[in-house]
Symmetry: C2
Subunit: 253 residues, 2 copies
DNA sequence: AATACAGTTCCATATTACGAAACAAAAGGA
DNA sequence: TCCTTTTGTTTCGTAATATGGAACTGTATT
């Protein structure tokens, strides 16, 4: 059998808090039943949360709800996190799995900005470091991956503010076509850049958000088109989604 | 004397969690000293947090750090919040204090979108409801208020993606001048729209962010230029900052 | 008015958290 | 290298603490 929590009330306190977080507002008996607690015990637990400012009681109907103090605490935690440092080991593993160069970008305004990269070794000519440089959203894997996680309105919004032009013969410049592409990306959770930004370079990318912060991020695997067959892309898609899942797991998202 | 927490350990559990949230990573004795606890008690409390997934111990040096589970819980709370419903009472009070029409907007892409408004009564011709309609950031009070809370890079980014044109003779179209304006807004925490968007209409606006969500918001007081003297603006600035402070207090931000 | 159900308070009880002390394992100095 | 100091971990008798049954109050519902 598993070992117990060294403090029993802790389970009840945090259990109640999580319950309120999930259900929004609850009655006392409701809480007590869901946690398997005596009405009296639940009452004391909830009052303790209220005393500390993590919950409050609606004056009207007496129901209990969570406050935003949890959010404030969460913000402090997020504030100390260095996204680049935390994500780097994952990027490194992704590079090792794919043996291709991996990029990490962040959304700023209507563009993506390179904030980190892990170069594949012995890839002949090393590209100039792109850290800090920007690229449009509509014609990049990382950009499309991030767009796909926004609402349609916002996608349209950014499309209209972008200087859409055919950078290569593969660049998507028709909005109808672009919308289909976005839906496709939503379905499979990764985006492809099929030489849309630069001739001879294909990318596969996926995006995520960091709550409690203005964070929209994406990372990608880039390689010469010659090394990116249909089958190879499927393989890389597996890698990139696996790494992302691990990251999300560590981050409890 | 104040009444005590109905559960003493609760103070210690959440105290430890908040401590970790603030300091990032701490040693056991450090925690025990700051909370005035016995080393042994601190150890049990921290292990309880670890057991529940709210903290973890660094394998390398044995130090304790918070996990992102708190953030996940905070997200659930934020996810249930209806920003418009929550903010409306504040907007209403602001309207009552100023007896002017109040607007509430949200940032979407590179534009502001009206999401709510509280009309001042008996203001003659009621303007057509603008809910859902969009306006540029560079030439509106709410837009500038939101921009002022971003980093310089992102401001520049959005400026460059905006179709900057002189909608009125007061519109700021020079970037140097605009930057000064932004710095001024940061200093006083509210923005002015001096007929920059529409002739004869002045606004005063302030912005805020909602963590754990992609939320950048702003609200404003709009009135005919004739009712917006220097002195009246100072008065309204007081109102709008007061209301914002109250909102931030309720939201624990 | 009667009933049912929600939240609140009380209190004797034993369960639970407490902390001193002893232990283990690194880190730092001589 | 050895000794000292510091930090994390475990134990255990004890006292304080959380527990939950029951009684109480207030508010909807019939």
């Amino acid at each position: 059998m598993e070992n117990k929590n060294p403090i029993q009330v802790a389970d009840r306190l945090f259990g109640a808090l999580e319950l309120l977080a999930e259900h929004g507002d609850m009655g006392l008996v409701e809480v007590s039943e869901m946690l398997g607690l005596n009405k009296s015990t639940a009452h004391r637990v909830l009052n303790s949360l209220i005393y500390m400012g993590y919950a409050k009681q609606n004056k009207e109907n007496g129901r209990y709800e969570p406050t935003l103090k949890t959010v404030a605490t969460a913000n402090k935690i997020m504030g100390r996190i260095d996204v680049i440092q935390t994500v780097r080991p994952y990027l490194r593993r992704l590079m090792e799995m794919s043996v291709e160069t991996v990029h990490f970008v962040r959304l700023e305004g209507c563009e993506a900005v390179y904030i980190d990269k892990v170069e594949a070794p012995g890839n002949g000519i090393q590209m100039v470091s792109r850290i800090g440089s920007r690229l449009p959203l509509y014609c990049s894997g990382v950009g499309k991956a991030m767009l796909a996680r926004m609402e349609d309105q916002e996608v349209r919004e950014i499309w209209e503010h972008s200087d859409v032009r055919a950078l290569t013969e593969h660049t998507i410049t028709d909005y109808e076509r672009f919308q289909e592409e976005i839906h496709e990306i939503r379905r499979r959770d990764y985006a492809l850049d099929n030489e849309e930004n630069e001739v001879g370079v294909r990318c596969i990318a996926t995006a995520f958000e960091i709550p409690a912060g203005d964070g929209r991020y994406a990372f990608s695997i880039s390689a010469p088109a010659g090394r990116m067959s249909e089958e190879r892309i499927r393989e890389l898609a597996g890698y990139i989604l696996k790494i992302k899942a691990e990251l999300m797991k560590e981050w409890q998202l």
